[in-house]
């Protein structure tokens, strides 16, 4: 396996793990929670609370935005999802809990996941040990994706 290959878990599998984790944490399995989690786990674009709400409203017209906010906060407290670090005004989320890194396009702002096992296995500079104990190491790469590069060069200036 290449060091950037994606370790896969199917959505049904992930839903089962989620339900189990909720039971362990004494979180009730409501329709809203299941659908919010399913929507987030299916998304690849690290959506905000508002984006999730907009997507879910088609199927669940009575779902309220504050429930989405409250639910995401609950999930995050129980380490079922993560808030993604961004410079955006709206907070963005991901359900992928395995070690991975982010690739951000400076033009379309899309956030992509990627894997880098040799970095994960490497150790940080010695001096850092003096600061404290490190639990996690994450890389963010910034650049311009192929699509946006093409757009700029010849193409279709929006």
């Amino acid at each position: 396996m290449s060091e950037t290959e994606e370790p896969n878990e199917s959505l049904p599998q992930q839903m089962r793990s989620f339900e189990e984790a909720c039971r362990d944490a004494n979180l009730k399995l409501t329709h809203q929670r299941l659908e919010i989690y399913r929507e987030l786990a299916s998304a690849t674009d690290h959506p905000s609370a508002e984006t999730l709400h907009r997507r879910l409203q088609k199927a669940m017209p009575t779902l309220s935005l504050d429930t989405v906010y409250r639910t995401l906060a609950t999930f995050e407290q129980h380490h079922l999802i993560k808030k993604v670090q961004t410079v955006d005004s709206q907070a963005r989320y991901e359900a992928r809990m395995i070690q991975h890194h982010h690739l951000i396009c400076d033009t379309c702002k899309e956030i992509m996941d990627f894997y880098w096992t040799s970095f994960d296995a490497s150790s940080v500079p010695e001096d850092i040990q003096a600061w404290g104990s490190i639990k996690n190491k994450n890389v963010t790469l910034y650049g311009t994706c192929r699509k946006c590069q093409a757009m700029k060069k010849g193409g279709n200036p929006a």
Copy 2:
């Protein structure tokens, strides 16, 4: 020089570069801009607009919060400062424009800068080239700083 040693630029030096950059960008050198920049450049804690405003108000009682917001946005557009990626609700800023990385304490939430020249010199996995062109690579390390470790163990539970 160790690979995590800090390259230094004195504050007066940094102020001169800033003033020159403002002139080049046709930004007027107002008292507010100079003081906001000086405060941010002196800070090591990646302050938010509100924090900067609070600190500056002692010396400049009439400085308004919206001027701080507007000024930081202007500086950022001209690449004189950077917004720091966080999961906080308030946006945070730094005046340090040279390549560096961040160390975040999961307890006190402090953000520290550090340097890692061997990482900076290394190349990213080949597969990434297919995504587009990379302009910047940043590492964020999460963990618990010595101070907070000590607090938890025996010490002085706040």
